[in-house]
Symmetry: C2
Subunit: 344 residues, 2 copies
């Protein structure tokens, strides 16, 4: 028998509601000899307004001892833009060295894509999670004057790029199509872009079976809507990955279905699983949010913790549920249905 | 009677072919009392291979004396990525302070969008053209070693942002819907993002009739495919504008129709008009390229030079041609048809 210590950060808005359903399905999926020990952390807008803190040091310390983190959503209009994103969400990703930000782009059967002609979409984006323009390096000079200058520095290291590129090659190697696309903008961002390109080619020599190509980020967005079938595994930097995975969510039927894992493969720190969507304050507390993205993130969590069979069962439950979905159901009705399928 | 001195830079690949048709239509559109004086500059891959130069100083000096520039496409697989882009295309945009990079996103009647459900799309992206991550600031340390570090610095100034934001407000004010959307990523790129947001709000006070909103770039890509009708005028930075305008081209029927103007409203230097598409070396020299994007760029050129009626005639010719388009025609057949409509 095994015990999983899971930190739960419901966060803001619909975070609470979707995380509750995610946990319901997780409990239904785990084998009976696995014990789930959850600790909930009340982080987000409420804590910030009460104490001015986003991620207290003591909480960060405690989280280190957990096996994984399930996060709902972060962000509220009452908090200045960037405070919770940088002070909580990105702080966790950076503190726990979540360098593999894994985001599947999969169109499930019976899900309507906004694209015409029923495209077949099944790719995964491996987004770098700890470097690039997300490092927070930069500042302002003569702030608030007509002479103000603001900088943002994208930091990229051979070390950081190589590990995510190798991870992406491994994933491509393990998939039937064995295809890997690098996305960057190496004709303009020549310093970072050529480093990515060079490492992509170097590491590729270890994976002769993997077919590769390269696309500029602007061209990649075109193919996402005109030819999404062409993608298998995509590896890209932090900012391009952010943009491409929202677009991927859009073409695969919406952000309500897009799952993600912030993974530290070393296991030194807990990995974190979260839906790609935000806190959607406009529909919070009304039981309207679709918890499916969180449930699919739970499947990724199971996979990460070594429960491959259980992960597959959760994904199969979602696929079956989507196929038979009619009418509108509340957040908890969807969670109940998925949990029932998983246990059944 | 007036004389227009036009610099023509056909560039690489299909550039030559599409520019020839653009000039054909331009000649047909201009009033008989306007004289067109063109000077062709052979810049691009050929010059680079011959001399190692991308934009000789003498050519740059000569270009300064022209009224406008018509550019085809730049880039060839035989030249390392970035050399022609940074050394020629971006050099022109920066040297001539093309801070308004204007890119309409318009779905013409009878043009098939990859989006389901016949969306109505008619917006314009005002992309900043002289700052942001495009400045080329950055470098590498310990190049080629496992310890390599590469940086890219995004430079943003109140001066540079204010002028493009004000231009975008003016354009929004002049359109029936009077709506302006700022796109950035101010929850992550807080230094540059908050500067953009602050200036956007400040300048907005001068335009009380314009409705505004803000979207993170990732969310904007979602709306481009799920709700493109919501956009009227969009203002954004250089890199986000690059990405969004390729996506805009995709949802409005393809890069073969997307026009752009690199505009310096002061008139101190010539503005430059070019199709958004690249040099497409795979189909170069075969008469297969669609010159429509170049012809629409010619319409923007006419508008910029004060020929509003003639610009409208060219756009109307394109609209009519697209409505009646059947079968495949060669590059010059499309150009002939458009020129005939414009003269007729
Ligand atoms: C909320 C924001 C900081 C975050 C990001 O930009 O990474 C989000 O958009 C995401 O994709 O997870
Ligand atoms: C060729 C490249 C430098 C250019 C850009 O990134 O601006 C192109 O993509 C464009 O959009 O005009």
């Amino acid at each position: 028998s095994r015990t999983i210590r899971l930190a739960v950060i419901p966060g803001d808005g619909i975070g609470q509601e979707v995380v509750a359903e995610g946990l319901k399905v997780l409990r239904a999926a785990l084998p009976t000899d696995t014990k789930l020990e959850t600790t909930e952390y009340d982080l987000g807008a409420r804590l910030y307004h009460r104490t001015g803190e986003t991620l207290p040091d003591a909480v960060l310390e405690e989280l280190k001892g957990q096996d994984a983190i399930l996060l709902g959503a972060i962000g509220d209009p009452s908090v200045p833009s960037g405070v919770l994103e940088r002070g909580l969400l990105l702080k966790l990703r950076f503190a726990f060295d979540h360098h593999i930000n894994l985001r599947p782009g999969k169109l499930f059967p019976n899900v309507k894509s906004p694209l015409a002609g029923d495209p077949q979409i099944d790719f995964v984006v491996v987004r770098e999670g700890t470097e690039g323009p997300y490092v927070g390096n930069g500042g302002t000079l003569r702030t608030g004057t007509p002479q103000e200058v603001a900088t943002e520095v994208s930091l990229n290291t051979a070390f950081g790029i190589e590990r995510v590129v190798r991870d992406a090659y491994r994933r491509a190697q393990a998939r039937p199509r064995k295809k890997l696309t690098l996305v960057h903008k190496n004709n303009v961002l020549v310093h970072a872009g050529h480093l990515w390109t060079r490492i992509f080619e170097q590491v590729g020599r270890e994976f002769p079976e993997v077919t590769t190509d390269y696309l500029h980020v602007d061209a990649a967005t075109i193919f996402f809507v005109t030819q999404p079938e062409r993608f298998d595994v995509i590896v890209t930097d932090n900012l391009f990955g952010d943009i491409l995975t929202d677009l991927a969510a859009a073409v695969t039927g919406g952000i309500g279905l897009a799952a993600s894992g912030n993974i530290n493969p070393s296991g030194d720190f807990p990995s974190m699983f979260e839906p790609v969507h935000g806190s959607a304050p406009d529909i919070a507390g009304q039981g309207k949010a679709d918890p499916t993205a969180t449930v699919l993130s739970v499947a990724m969590l199971l996979e990460h913790l070594g429960y491959a069979v259980e992960a597959a069962a959760v994904e199969a439950a979602v696929a079956a549920d989507l196929t038979e979905r009619t009418g509108t159901r509340s957040t908890s009705e969807v969670g109940d249905a998925l949990a029932a399928r998983v246990s059944g």
